[in-house]
């Protein structure tokens, strides 16, 4: 008798759920409204997206994309950003109000769709894989236009910048910052054109998992090294940051070792104290440098022009004797962000860490 009682309860409980769910099957899908004050843009996944003619509220869901919005000068339109960007030195330095912008999650911990909807955005930028997590579908059900932004290679990064410039009505600055990027790379190429292949510096980039990790040719960092005229000794690696054995590092014996901004291990400890690695050419010649940390110059963003410039000057100081890197970087930041690099707290341009 008692057995029957709870079984009945359970059945009732599930029947309620089932009927609830069947109801939703009948629900209609939203028909997109078209009116005069909208326009259509094509995002980087090739999707045609109808957005308001004037976008005043934008949400970005991961860091490089937030930095791209800053690059085109659209930071005041941000109403929701990824978790880290409300405290990053660059974003806070340029736009202190960012501290009060809603955090909506990130690639690692997921996006809180309800929080995104609550910010009432005109446009939300998501990463390429977000559609597999259902985020794009969820936002589209809510009638919120969603743009897929893919800043991976240099070409895609430029595309992304111009797209965001168009969306935010900041095409002029987007073009300007891309021109600056292209010109910087062309200038470096011109200065280094007489350096033969055999004299190119062989660079080891110590990465996110410590000194004994590096990245191969599928990362933007590889492109940075190439554009700065160097050779990435770890080019053969695949799949982002990978561990490297000490023996492999000795076999590569790079001319210069650069620590990525993500590398938290001290080069002093890891290289100079280790008897096996002390004999490396780069350690003996003290060719150990830390990548400047403030501006995230190793991200696929236009600001990485400064990273390339810094790297080429570090690798080939004799070809850039007339270039005052500090002045150049400060002017760049003043021009595009209204604050100089030094004012943002950047004092690490000598490559010896903060």
């Amino acid at each position: 008798m008692v057995k029957l009682k709870w079984q009945k309860w359970l059945l009732l409980f599930f029947c309620i759920f089932l009927s609830l769910c069947l109801f939703t099957g009948c629900a209609q899908t939203q028909t997109g409204q078209t009116s005069a004050d909208t326009r259509t843009v094509t995002d980087q996944a090739g999707r045609e997206v109808v957005i308001p003619a004037e976008v005043n509220r934008i949400v970005t869901t991961w860091r490089p994309c937030t930095f791209l919005v800053f690059a085109v000068g659209g930071q005041e339109k941000l109403v929701g950003v990824d978790n880290g960007s409300t405290t990053a030195p660059f974003t806070v330095g340029v736009y202190p109000e960012i501290k009060n912008v809603t955090k909506v999650g990130d690639k690692k911990s997921g996006i809180n769709v309800e929080a995104v909807v609550a910010t009432k955005p005109d446009v939300v930028c998501v990463w390429a894989e977000a559609s597999k997590g259902g985020i794009i579908e969820q936002l589209e059900t809510q009638g919120i236009p969603t743009l897929v932004i893919i800043p991976e290679s240099a070409e895609e990064m430029k595309e992304a910048t111009l797209l965001l410039g168009e969306v935010l009505g900041r095409t002029e600055q987007a073009k300007k910052i891309i021109d600056y990027y292209d010109n910087t790379i062309a200038m470096i190429k011109e200065r280094l054109k007489d350096v033969p292949e055999s004299e190119r510096k062989r660079v080891y980039l110590a990465g996110a998992y410590g000194i004994l990790s590096s990245c191969g040719s599928d990362f933007y960092q590889h492109y940075l090294i190439e554009q700065a005229g160097g050779i990435n000794v770890a080019a053969e690696l695949k799949g982002g940051w990978q561990s490297v054995s000490p023996e492999q590092l000795v076999a590569w014996d790079p001319d210069v070792i650069i620590a990525d901004p993500y590398c938290t291990e001290s080069m002093e400890d890891a290289l100079k104290m280790d008897p096996a690695l002390k004999a490396l050419k780069a350690v003996k010649n003290n060719q150990l440098y830390s990548f400047p940390k403030i501006g995230q110059w190793s991200f696929p963003i236009p600001q990485s022009a400064m990273g390339i410039l810094w790297l080429s000057k570090t690798l080939y100081p004799e070809h850039f004797e007339d270039l005052d890197i500090e002045k150049e970087v400060n002017n760049y930041y003043k021009e595009f962000f209204g604050v100089s690099y030094t004012e943002l707290g950047g004092s690490d341009l000598d490559g010896r860490g903060i």
């Binding site: 099957g25 899908t29 690639k107 997921g110 309800e114 990463w127 059900t141 799949g239």
Partner: protein, 346 residues
């Protein structure tokens, strides 16, 4: 006769506890309606509850409630109930209180399938490929474990646990390999993110799909739960009672796997629920599976929906739910252990 009436009294008490648990679950669900980052006035929400489905997209209040919040709440209840049921079932079948639903390598198989789906979706575009592959690989892992255990000639339960470990470790190795070779910009974060688990993906399509699997499986498990009692006596005794242990074990494990795989394939692996909730249920209603399995189902559903409320509304960003289930579930478990003095383990 005296024994009879005290037994009857005992089960009456259990029935009361189960009805109470149903009430708690319903309360938890109703409270969840009112919680979320998108602010809807409580009075307004009560009005919204009667909206006809054709008007669900009429305003952003209704579309947020019916297309984001409600499916998520239902999914949380379902996943919590299913994982806890599977946990209680597996602990009974394996006669081991430390067993969790992923004992047969099911979760590891699901994760492998999902990672494969994420990588493959670059080449083939099938909607919900990730979820489908996760489900298939979860089931495959269980079939493989069961086959290995059947072929080997040892004590069946021990062999199953060992085979599950083997299959789980192999699936984990394969998963690590896929992560090693995945594209670092999109695929790798997507895989890591997927495995961590969460209910943010919830939509009606998913809810409906797993309902179709979960309801019959869970009802069947409840109807067969008295057989778990017999199985938990051990093979020899169960056989002497005329039960075909091999057959029932396979059926029960099969349905248990089915519900775990369908949960993990939509929500990723959510830790601790399948391990802790059955213990809590046993402490409340005693070791009889006839009661402890439905009880696990009820408190599991309530627990996960409450944890998910925190995950989606404490801060504007999303908190991974596994952190919450472990951080809040474990002290609760410790409390129950101390209070129950381990009495639920005969």
């Amino acid at each position: 006769m005296g024994e009879e009436s005290s037994r009857f009294k005992g089960s009456n008490k259990v029935a009361l506890k189960i009805i109470l648990a149903v009430a708690v679950l319903i309360c938890a669900v109703v409270i969840s309606f009112f919680i979320g980052r998108y602010r809807i006035e409580p009075m307004r929400l009560v009005q919204l509850l009667t909206t006809a489905p054709s008007n669900w997209l009429a305003s952003s209040e209704t579309s947020v409630f019916y297309y984001i919040r409600l499916p998520r709440i239902i999914l949380a209840v379902l996943v919590g109930a299913a994982l806890s049921t599977a946990g209680a079932l597996f602990q009974g079948v394996f006669r081991n209180p430390l067993v969790s639903p992923d004992i047969l390598g099911v979760s590891a198989g699901c994760c492998l399938g999902a990672a494969l789906g994420i990588v493959l979706s670059r080449y083939i575009s099938i909607p919900y490929l990730v979820q489908i592959l996760a489900f298939i690989f979860g089931i495959l892992a269980m079939i493989l474990s069961y086959s290995i255990a059947s072929i080997s000639r040892g004590e069946p339960v021990v062999m199953l646990i060992l085979a599950g470990m083997i299959v789980g470790s192999f699936a984990n190795a394969a998963l690590s390999f896929i992560k090693f070779t995945a594209d670092p910009y999109e695929e790798l974060p997507a895989i890591v993110f997927w495995i961590m688990g969460g209910l943010y993906r919830a939509n009606w399509y998913m809810v409906l799909n797993i309902l179709v699997i979960l309801i019959p499986s869970m009802l069947l498990i409840i109807l067969l739960s008295w057989k778990v009692n017999v199985l938990s006596l051990g093979d020899e005794e169960a056989s002497s009672l005329g039960i075909n242990t091999r057959c029932f074990r396979l059926v029960l494990l099969g349905f248990g796997t089915l519900i775990v795989a369908s949960c993990v394939s939509v929500s990723g692996s959510i830790g601790w629920v399948g391990l802790v909730i059955p213990h809590a249920a046993r402490i409340i209603v005693g070791p009889d599976h006839k009661y402890s399995i439905p009880m696990s189902m009820l408190i599991g559903g309530a627990f996960v929906v409450l944890m998910d409320n925190i995950a989606r509304s404490l801060i504007s960003a999303e908190i991974p739910i596994s952190i919450l289930t472990a951080a809040i579930g474990t002290p609760f478990f410790a409390y129950l252990l101390i209070k129950g003095r381990g009495s639920a383990w005969r």
